[in-house]
Symmetry: C2
Subunit: 200 residues, 2 copies
């Protein structure tokens, strides 16, 4: 029994709701990525998005739902960037890995807020912890799957978790400025890391 979608100011109701939802998510990204979880309050999000609280609850059940939406959106973008890079890469394994790493690094350089959402937020925010332990290993898995696999299950897991952590810390350091290193150098180091992990 959906209403006949009568138009309004040239757009339908669903369109306008979707736009507002996007604005809220963008505001959430800004706050989460720039000032951390504690900065993401319903009021702050609405202030940033220039929308009323009423519209918040139009699109999200509660604060946590927004957090998840922000994270999922960024994770989705990262996933797409990786898949695209891997798909377009030449056959050479090293080049493949380099393409994947580069695409990821570019994503988090282009918008460090996204990097922080992806890498840092899920480490401590209760609402995101489960999500975080799904995505980042899948980053490693995505690449591992492209490579000859001859390692036993547990070691594979240990290795994946380790490599993931190494990459996380390297990227995080790069984001913070803690790790002052040219981008190519960072990329190259990560590539070697992944190749070594796959060989071992």
């Amino acid at each position: 029994m959906t209403a006949p979608q009568r138009t309004w100011a040239g757009t339908t109701l669903t369109d306008r709701r979707a736009t507002r939802r996007r604005q809220l998510i963008e505001a959430g990204l800004e706050l989460l990525g720039s000032h951390g979880t504690s900065a993401v309050s319903v009021r702050a999000v609405c202030r940033t998005a220039k929308l009323t609280e009423r519209y918040f609850y139009e699109s999200f059940d509660d604060r946590d739902a927004l957090l998840l939406a922000v994270y999922d959106q960024v994770a989705q973008q990262a996933h797409e960037a990786l898949v695209a890079a891997v798909a377009n890469a030449p056959d050479d394994v090293t080049e493949l890995v380099r393409a994947a790493v580069t695409s990821f690094v570019e994503l988090i350089i282009d918008d460090p807020r996204k990097g922080r959402v992806l890498l840092l937020a899920p480490l401590t925010d209760p609402a995101l912890i489960r999500r975080g332990s799904e995505l980042l290993p899948s980053f490693t898995t995505l690449i591992h799957d492209q490579l000859p696999a001859s390692i036993d299950g547990t070691d594979r897991r240990l290795s994946a978790v380790g490599v993931t952590g190494a990459l996380t810390n390297l990227f995080t350091g790069y984001l913070n400025g803690t790790l002052d290193v040219p981008r190519e150098r960072l990329v190259e180091h990560c590539v070697q890391l992944l190749l070594d992990a796959a060989r071992a």
Copy 2:
């Protein structure tokens, strides 16, 4: 012009203040290690420590000062455990590294709250970010220093940050139960990680 330290209930004023300070730090450890930064409010700390807010400000300038004190205490303990392990270890390099890793793993098994304070809190809490980027690399450095060093500065730094991240993620996963692996297996993997890093 210190007062003559007249005694009270068998203890001096300085003693009682120190005791209260310890209680507050212990409460902070409990809250920070078990429920994260956001759980560490002045009121909650005082409730947990069974002390009045007045005594909080007797020992700490503000909330952040307590956070730092908690972190520094745990970091100090970790440092001491590492130094002790390294000092008592045999000459064999592998055994040395194994001793260091074991001592650290035991610390965070014995009291997972400390592990979380050490590994997670400094990643996101504004007050601790600087502290965190000092200590954990020093963990790696402590071991690196025991080993033949033949790598150039930047690579050394990249390697240290990477290894630190790998260890962090492995320990964190172990703490969370996300990484379901026997302790010896974890230790052994970390040992190999460190040895490989030193060789490369």
